[in-house]
Each structure stands twice: as C-alpha cells, then as structure tokens.
Subunit: 393 residues, 2 copies
C-alpha cells in the first residue's frame, strides 16, 4: 500500500532521542531514512533496557525501526566527500547536534544547500540555532525546567516535578517533523529547500497552554495544582482499593449524573456545589472527601465500568503492562511487533497518526551498526575492507 512519503529520501545525522524520533515518524510514513552513525555508533545503543540474549538496546530498536543504517566518519575528509554524494540525492537531512557542531563538521545547512539547493535541512537542539543560549548544552530536564513546565507540575506543598517521560525530546522531534513536512509541501510550489530550526526550550514553552496568558492577561503567576484543574470540579485522581482512577465532571448535567451514580444526591441540594464555578471554589473539603471516601471503598475497574456506562469521563491510572494490554491500545494497533535479526520478535509503540488512504506501518527492524554501509556505497568486499581500514566507517 502506498505511503504518504514514498520516494522521499531522508538522511538522519542524529543521536539519542529527539532527532531520531522525527526520523522514526518520517520512516513510519514511507520516507527512506538512512541513519548515519559515527563508527562507534549512536550513544542510544548503550541505553537500556537491553535484550538479554543479544545485548541490543530495546530503546534503540524502537526509535530506529524502518530505517537503514550506515557508519561514516564525518571527521575524515574523504569519508565526508562520500556523504556529500549522498546529499546530492537526498530530499531531507536532519541533525540534532548541539548548535555549532554541524558547522565544525562541515555538514551544516550552508554547506549542504550549496551541494543541493532543493535540500530541506532540519536542526533540532536544546536552545535553537540562534540567541544567547544557543551554544549551551541541554538535557530534557533542563528544557523542562527552563521552559516553565517543571514549576507547574506536582503538588503545591511538594517540589517542582519533571514529567516522567522525556517530552522535551519527543515533542521537539514531533515539531521537527512538522517543520520538515511544511518545507516539503512548500518545495512543491517553490522548488527550493530551506532550513528548519526547532528547540527543546521553545517546544516546552509552547506547551504551557494558558499558563502564559494567566500571567500576561490574568496578571498572576500560576503555581502547581497537583492533580486538580482549577477551572473544573470535580476533576482529580482518586485512590481506589487497588490503585488510582482519574475522574472529570465537566458540567452541571454530568454532576447530576455523577451524584446519582455514587448515591450522594445530597450534594445536589448543597448550594456550595450548585454550579461548576462554586464547585471549583468549594471543592476541597466535603466534596473531595465524599468522593475520596466513595472511591476508596471500591476497586478501580468497577468504578471505571460504572462511570463508563453512565458517560462520566473516567479512566484508570494504568501502569505500563496495563496500558500495553488495554483493549483500546490493542484495537488501535498502538503496539507492533517486528522480527529483529539478533533480538528476535520485539514489540514497541506503533504508528500514532492514522491515515485512511496512505497508512503508515512498521515493516522493518532497526539496523545493526553499519549494516547497510557496503550496500549504500555499492562497494566490493575489497573496497569495503580497504576503506574500513582507512577509518572511513
């Protein structure tokens, strides 16, 4: 079946998480993604969890499915010439070096766009290609902190809390993908490539939703709210006998259904809870306590089933095993399996964007280190051996 990016050639000069996540999205939708690793490999190969039998990184296998892989020593001038040859035929190069490093390696946009003016060049970095912090090193935790997200995550009485997944990495990779696709569409009209520049700090800042306007329009600095939403009540996570459930009751109609369902119609008579606004003001205390008490005496799945029937937004706080095995995750093909040459059958997250006519798919496993080097450069065994000894790969 045709895919949206059939025929689009991408070179991925990326390591770790953020750039490769973009490469994965492009590859899932049909782009031919060629991952170029330094001779000692992407550092992600050394990050766990590891397959016990083969020693391969499960993290690497997940992020680099559907890609081909070669090694190339870009510090070697002649090896770099071989890279330039690949660039002539490419539509897209993506990189996630720290700002400045691509230039030092002579693989920056300026250099490559002279070789191929149709080239789209995507850069993903901690702070972006411009500005006073451009050259500072960054990790996900730094971008989450400086972007303002850590300060609003967690409980008012607790400390600032980072998100449990590296969303500065993967969401920035997603924005890089948005940029590449914008540039590809634009090139259909103009015939010209361009430079796409995304940053982890910008990305986190862009996700803060109305916390920014709370300051600029509302005039106050928002603080941590725990699991509560200040503008909806009840809207919280509650402890059941055997775990936790999230419950959101967004309007008066739902509140009536909710109170009847939990057998606490007296709450409907209480003037403190007449409207959503009043419930928000008076949530802590009787209302929260009543729900805590009711939830605390029941099993999470029973609560979920009950609210599911009456249409109250509700969901169990699932751990990884439970999420993987959830019928909706299964029905949506959000777990996929590939056959890896050394790991065997391996499973991980599937394709998030569902397209009716050109659906993406996971069809091939991540490459072994340097697996496609000889093939991509069309080298005889002797040539390959010779250039390997010269330190090209």
């Amino acid at each position: 079946m045709a895919k949206a990016l059939d025929g689009v050639k991408v070179i991925e000069l990326c390591h770790a998480y953020n750039g490769p996540f973009c490469g994965m999205l492009l590859a899932d939708h049909g782009a031919e993604v060629l991952k170029i690793e330094p001779p000692n490999g992407d550092q992600l190969r050394t990050w766990g969890p590891f397959d016990k039998k083969s020693g391969e990184s499960g993290f690497f296998a997940f992020l680099n499915r559907n890609k081909k892989g070669i090694t190339l020593n870009l510090k070697n001038e002649q090896a770099r010439e071989m890279f330039y040859e690949l660039v002539k035929e490419a539509d897209v190069v993506i990189e996630n070096y720290r700002a400045g490093v691509a230039k030092r390696l002579k693989v920056d946009y300026e250099t490559l766009s002279k070789i191929n003016p149709r080239l789209i060049y995507g850069s993903s970095s901690g702070f972006g290609q411009t500005g006073p912090w451009s050259n500072r090193p960054c990790y996900d935790i730094v971008a989450q902190s400086m972007g303002g997200l850590v300060n609003i995550t967690g409980f008012p009485e607790g400390i600032p809390t980072k998100v449990g997944a590296s969303i500065a990495d993967n969401v920035t990779g997603t924005f890089l993908c948005v940029g590449i696709l914008l540039a590809l569409y634009s090139r259909e009209k103009t015939g010209k490539g361009q430079h796409v520049d995304v940053a982890m700090l910008d990305t986190i800042f862009s996700l803060l939703e109305n916390s920014i306007v709370k300051y600029t329009v509302g005039g106050y600095i928002p603080d941590r709210q725990g699991n509560i939403d200040p503008s909806i009540a009840p809207f919280d996570i509650f402890k059941a006998k055997d775990g936790y459930v999230a419950i959101g009751v967004g309007n008066d109609n739902l509140f009536e259904i909710f109170c009847k369902t939990i057998g606490h119609e007296e709450l409907l008579e209480n003037p403190k809870f007449k409207t959503n606004d009043l419930r928000c003001q008076n949530y802590i205390g009787d209302l929260q306590d009543t729900i805590r008490d009711w939830v605390g005496k029941r099993n999470k799945q029973d609560i979920d089933d009950l609210f599911g029937k009456v249409g109250i937004p509700c969901g169990v706080v699932l751990n990884m095993k439970e999420a993987i095995e959830h019928p909706q995750i299964k029905a949506r093909d959000m777990m996929v399996e590939v056959d890896h040459p050394t790991m065997g059958k391996t499973s991980f997250q599937g394709v998030t964007v569902k397209l009716s006519e050109t659906p993406g798919a996971v069809e091939s496993p991540s490459p072994l280190l340097g697996q496609h080097t000889q093939e991509i450069f069309n080298l005889s065994d002797e040539e390959f051996k010779e250039l390997s000894e010269k330190g090209f790969f």
Copy 2:
C-alpha cells in the same frame, strides 16, 4: 513574505484546546483558517484567564490568532447547506467532536468527501474513531492516566501525578497537524484527499519513550522516579537558597569538571563514583547529599552562571514570569504581541517551528464571535439579518 501553507484553505469545526491547537499551527504557517463556532460560541471563550476590561478569554485569544471566525448552526439543515458550499472550496476540515458526533451532524468524512474528493479531513478525539472505547468521553487527565504517563510522573513515595499542562490536548493537536501535512503532501502526488484520525490516548502512549520497552524487552514494570533519571547520575533538580535548579552530568568527563567546579575533588577519588553506572547505583546518599548541600548554600542564578561557563548542562526552574522574560525566549521570538479589537495589546506564545525561507508569523488577533459571518457568506445587511433571525448563525 511567503508562508509554507499559503493558499491552503482550512475549516476548523473545533472547540476547546486540542483541535484549535492544530488549527493554530496551520494558521501560523499561512493557511487560511476559518473557525466555525456554534451560535453560542466555542466553550473555550468561557475559560479563563479573562481580560478585565473586555471580558475576553486570554486562552481563546492565544489559540485562535490568525484565524477568521463565523458562527453557523450546523443543526439547521439550510445552514448546513451553506457549510457544504464552503467545503467545496476547502482543502482541509478539522474537527474534534467525540467520535460519532460528526456523523450525527452530517459533517463526517464520508459525507464531506462526496462533496469534495480532494478534501483532507482531520479528526482528533480522546480515544480515536475506532475500537471499543471510541465513544467514551475523555479529558486530558483521563488520557494522561490511561496512557500510562501519570503512573510514571511524580515521586516513588508519592502518588501518581498529572503533567501541569494539558499535553494530551496540545501534543495530539500537533500530531493532527503532522497528519494533515502528510495528507497534503500525499495529495500533491495522488490528487486525492483522505481521513486523518488521531487520539489523545494513542498520543500519550507514543510519548512514553523507553518505558514500554522496559516492560517488553527489559521484563519489568517501571515506576515513578521523581526528578532522577535512572540511567544518568547526577541528574536531578536541587533546592537552591532562592529556588530550584536542574543539573545533568552525563559522562565521566563532565563529572570531573563538575566535581572540580563545586570544589569536591574527593568525589573523583571515591571508587563508588568512578563510572556513570556506579554513580547511578550509588547516587542516593553521599553524592546526592554533597550536591544538595552545595546547591543549598547558593543562589540559583549564580549556580546557573557558573555551570554555564564550564559547560555543565544546567538550568533554573523558571516560573511563568521568569520564563517569559528569559533572554533566550525573547531572542527566539517565543512571545509575540497582537492588537486585539477589544482586549488591546495581548501577548502569548509565538511560532515554535522556525523556517528560514517561509517563516510563520502571528499577524492577526482571534476573531470576535461571528465577526466574519456576513463577509464569508457575502450577505447584504438584510440577508444577514433575515438568516440570523431564522437561527442560522
């Protein structure tokens, strides 16, 4: 200056946060986005913060900049015919009703693609258009919980914690944008539109990075880790005299610089801290305590300046005001200002994806309710009055 999506016509049948975020990304990059609200308006208009003078929602103003807006009562058959006329000229329709609602309103993909086979139709919902949970209601907190993210956010000794911003909403909106752009690019080759289907549950699940393979490959169920990364140490958030700082020391070389910078070279002699692996195993205790003590005696900005100089990844945990005023946020134009007809000068987040040749921009404010209805349908004052009285708008 030309933008990437110049000439692309988008109709936004969206409310609240998730769909409008996608519409915003498309509009920022040049698409003509026409937002269709029901006669009583997008519910987001009732969500704060509110401008004191005009009563307008700052949240609405942020998410709907660069769009035109009309009201239309899609439940009225004749009004719906006017909508179908707009669809004939549109490239994209996006909607974020609960699954099933678009069909009931007769504005679903099947209906509209018969009117315009080139139409790209994007659906964003809590659980997606397919699967056993498809029709269940969802909020951000439900998707974060069921997607597995809440269970891994927060501290091991604490309770599951939701992310302080509604990332199930805005990241799903970003994936919807990816899907629309894939479909637009594909249509350049095939001439045909298609249906794009994204879900908040799928999105959150896709962001869990290696937590999924920790179970499928590593064989264990990961738990909350607080602010620590189990595979890097030191990597944590520390309390300074006047706030918090995030510090990440990712390898042996950085660890040497770090110890020398904080004047604790004795840590380098300790065999427990020789390698990153050993530091991870032995982090809690002497190593964490030493850093806590050192950071606790200093001001956050001094620490940030010091580590910035020596190249240790570090960043202050910023609140909204501090993030807005950070020189890098300013240098990257991540805050922009528009002149709103009733709010006056209003500022919020800018354009995240930076394109060198076709840069996006924020050029016009969010529409007042029904501001462009008469113009879009090219109605005389009399016609407009008559149809308004008939309940079309």
